[in-house]
């Protein structure tokens, strides 16, 4: 690296340090760095891995088994809060899964160059988050062993799912999203897996060989791959928007005060992006801090860019929150008014204020500063708080709003029970999947980075060093 930098002047050095795209490394070296990051596993990794496995075994599988055997009585759901943390977690994980596609597909479509090193990390979040969402919604069902009845499968009684029910839409939307996002994750992975195949031996070689589908990097293969990726990038965006809109319809289509709100669709989408971006930033900080060679790929410029996005999303979210509140308040329905008052002043009022502070006040106060938002631990903290705030938002929308209805005789608060280990279990399972993936597939899309670096060039015009980007394709 030193030799490479020998003849550069000061400005150029500055550009290279700052921007990954302008700091090219030889392809072989970069490939080796990524391979090394997968192969290097410290004992700490295994300690955390073992710890999380225990949490997953107890929190997710054992507790779920108990709940299946005993019934939902071990959870905290009651009349009138028939839905509790399970649904909160479902919405939360679907929200998390949004940022992956948003970063990957939207930024790809708009050719935002800073996306290149972390599209994979984000896409993994989508798939793994959706798995947790699926777990959460299955847990929520009273008779989970009959959940296949939601599938439109041919049967002799001609019983089909009820297409009037938002839950059926939900199922279709989430399944579509899971399948398409998994495919969308897989397509850009192929060249990298092929790269890994060529650089590994033993079981890994077999593993990558299967995944790489015989990719050799010929011009024809690249053309097909690019086309497929482009189609998917465009196609998955409406799916992404539809999923969370449909999730919001679970609530908006119901005849309940506080839920029956027309703005819920976009409000939920923005909320999903809000928490999703926070989660991406957290993942990137952790990946950068714990995995080898990652400081080269993930740089403050990326945090700076994501931080800016987070700020914009936070403002959008605040607008939709205000809009939702306004419309509901202005509607003047007596029960809705009661509910809005209950949100702020009821026993869970603290949660409402914490939500606003975490989702709006703190991001606005911190992220406007370019240096702060480029500092990993600061954006990590903001991302964490946004996720807590967004989880609270869903908690307020589901169990807290359910406590108030049109029959005051039945109003009752919700106190979570076995939902807590189960929720922690899904979180641990998410991290566990991520950790496993980080050791099995290249977290950095090497070819994308290389492609970007090929397109970027530093040119000198007189005394000025200028960045030029050549049009790809």
């Amino acid at each position: 690296m030193a030799e490479h930098n020998k003849h550069t002047d000061h400005a150029e050095a500055h550009f290279r340090e700052k921007h990954l795209m302008l700091d090219p490394l030889p392809r072989g070296q970069m490939n080796e760095m990524v391979m090394e990051s997968m192969h290097t596993t410290s004992w700490k990794f295994w300690v955390v891995f073992a710890g999380l496995s225990v949490v997953v075994a107890y929190g997710l599988f054992y507790s779920w088994g108990v709940m299946i055997a005993e019934g939902l009585g071990v959870a905290g759901v009651n009349r009138p809060s028939y839905w509790g943390i399970f649904l909160v977690n479902t919405v939360f994980w679907i929200g998390i899964s949004h940022a992956g596609t948003f970063i990957s597909a939207i930024l790809r479509v708009f050719k935002a160059e800073f996306r290149r090193p972390f599209t994979r990390a984000a896409e993994l979040m989508t798939t793994f988050g959706l798995i947790q969402a699926g777990f959460s919604i299955l847990m929520h069902m009273g008779r989970v062993w009959l959940s296949y009845w939601l599938m439109p499968y041919p049967n002799q009684r001609m019983l089909w799912p009820n297409l009037h029910s938002p839950l059926t839409w939900d199922l279709l939307a989430i399944t579509t999203y899971l399948l398409s996002s998994t495919m969308y994750l897989f397509l850009p992975l192929i060249p990298d897996v092929a790269m890994a195949r060529d650089r590994s031996s033993g079981w890994r070689k077999t593993f990558y060989k299967i995944l790489a589908l015989g990719f050799r990097g010929t011009e024809g293969e690249w053309t097909h791959l690019r086309n497929a990726m482009n189609i998917f990038a465009f196609a998955i965006i409406p799916v992404m928007f539809s999923v969370h809109t449909i999730v919001s319809w679970d609530f908006a289509a119901a005849t309940r005060p506080g839920w029956n709100s027309t703005i819920f669709g976009p409000y939920f989408v923005v909320g999903a992006l809000h928490s999703g971006m926070g989660a991406v930033v957290m993942v990137l900080v952790v990946v950068r801090g714990t995995m080898k060679n990652m400081k080269y790929f993930i740089r403050p410029e990326h945090f700076e860019a994501i931080g800016r996005l987070m700020l914009i999303i936070s403002m959008t979210w605040a607008y939709f929150f205000f809009n939702d509140y306004m419309v509901q308040w202005y509607g003047g329905d007596k029960w809705t008014k009661q509910l809005l008052h209950f949100h702020e002043a009821g026993p869970m009022g603290w949660m409402w204020f914490v939500m606003l502070i975490f989702n709006v006040a703190i991001p606005w106060a911190v992220l406007w500063n370019a240096r702060w938002r480029a500092t990993p631990w600061i954006v990590f903290s903001v991302g964490l708080l946004i996720n807590v705030g967004m989880w609270f938002e869903r908690y307020i929308i589901i169990p807290v709003s359910l406590s108030i209805n049109r029959m005051p005789f039945t109003w009752r608060l919700y106190q979570p029970g076995i939902e807590i280990p189960l929720g922690i279990g899904t979180l641990a399972f998410f991290i566990l999947l991520y950790m496993t993936a980080s050791k099995l597939i290249p977290l950095i899309p090497v070819w994308e980075v290389q492609e970007g670096q090929m397109a970027h060039e530093l040119k000198k015009f007189g005394r000025e060093t200028v960045v030029t980007v050549s049009e790809l394709e």
Partner: protein, 246 residues
């Protein structure tokens, strides 16, 4: 172009289509809140008891509950008229469209709101969407130690954990009476049978019968001017009419 008048006509049509077959009138002025209906309902319909902890946490399984509120403060305090709250057997029920598995459906023959126990997968969406909050969920397999199961009504399914249930207007009695009437080649007579709650009520505050028969006692009562239907403004077309007070 659809005009306002068209909309009004369709609204009328809608409510005419949804005139229930069976209906109930509850006189809150004479309801003493004695809970006989609650006990009778539990005995007739094999409703499990849930114990102190669960019942205190909003998990009691009563299909009918008696609500009362307070007005004023001591010494000018009054108890509001007891309000037995049960499934209103809505003509246009909010619980029905939201079930993904068609477990809560409208019976075309009886125009009742049915819960198909063996089709229910327990999403509890129907209960969230019920504005009357009259659906109860089997949070656990509630224990009935031997020999208590001897008392179970063979005409009513015993429900297991994880499914939703609610008042059926004692559909087993409706069907029994219909079978009998059919076998005798006649229509069901008004007052030939009644629901368990109406049968037990010592004050006779509950009247049950054919809504679509203008001569029946219940439809005569329902026409009285002081009858109200709960949350009618939601368009649920409930089939239970309440007389609020004297």
């Amino acid at each position: 172009m659809v005009t306002l008048a068209d909309l009004k006509i369709s609204e009328v049509k809608l409510s005419e289509e949804h005139v229930g077959k069976w209906g109930m009138v509850i006189d809150q002025d004479i309801c003493t809140g004695c809970q006989a209906c609650v006990a009778a309902c539990a005995m007739e319909n094999n409703i499990p008891f849930v114990g102190e902890e669960d019942s205190g946490y909003g998990r009691s399984m009563h299909w009918i509950r008696i609500e009362r509120f307070w007005e004023g403060e001591y010494p000018e305090v009054k108890m509001t008229p007891n309000q037995p709250m049960l499934c209103q057997q809505c003509g246009s029920a909010p619980c029905e469209p939201v079930c993904p598995a068609f477990a809560t459906v409208h019976s075309q023959a009886e125009k009742l709101n049915l819960q198909v126990y063996n089709r229910c997968i327990g999403t509890r969406y129907c209960a969230n969407n019920c504005p009357y909050q009259v659906r109860s969920f089997n949070w656990r397999d509630y224990e009935r130690p031997e020999p208590l199961p001897n008392q179970l009504n063979p005409d009513v399914t015993v429900r297991r954990r994880g499914i939703m249930e609610k008042c059926t207007f004692c559909i087993q009695r409706i069907l029994n009476a219909q079978d009998k009437a059919k076998a005798e080649g006649r229509e069901i007579m008004d007052g030939e049978f009644t629901t368990a709650c109406a049968q037990a009520c010592p004050a006779n505050a509950i009247t049950f019968g054919r809504m679509d028969d203008p001569e029946s006692l219940v439809s005569q009562l329902a026409k009285r001017s002081h009858g109200v239907k709960h949350l009618e403004e939601l368009g649920t077309l409930p089939n239970v009419t309440y007389f609020k007070g004297g």
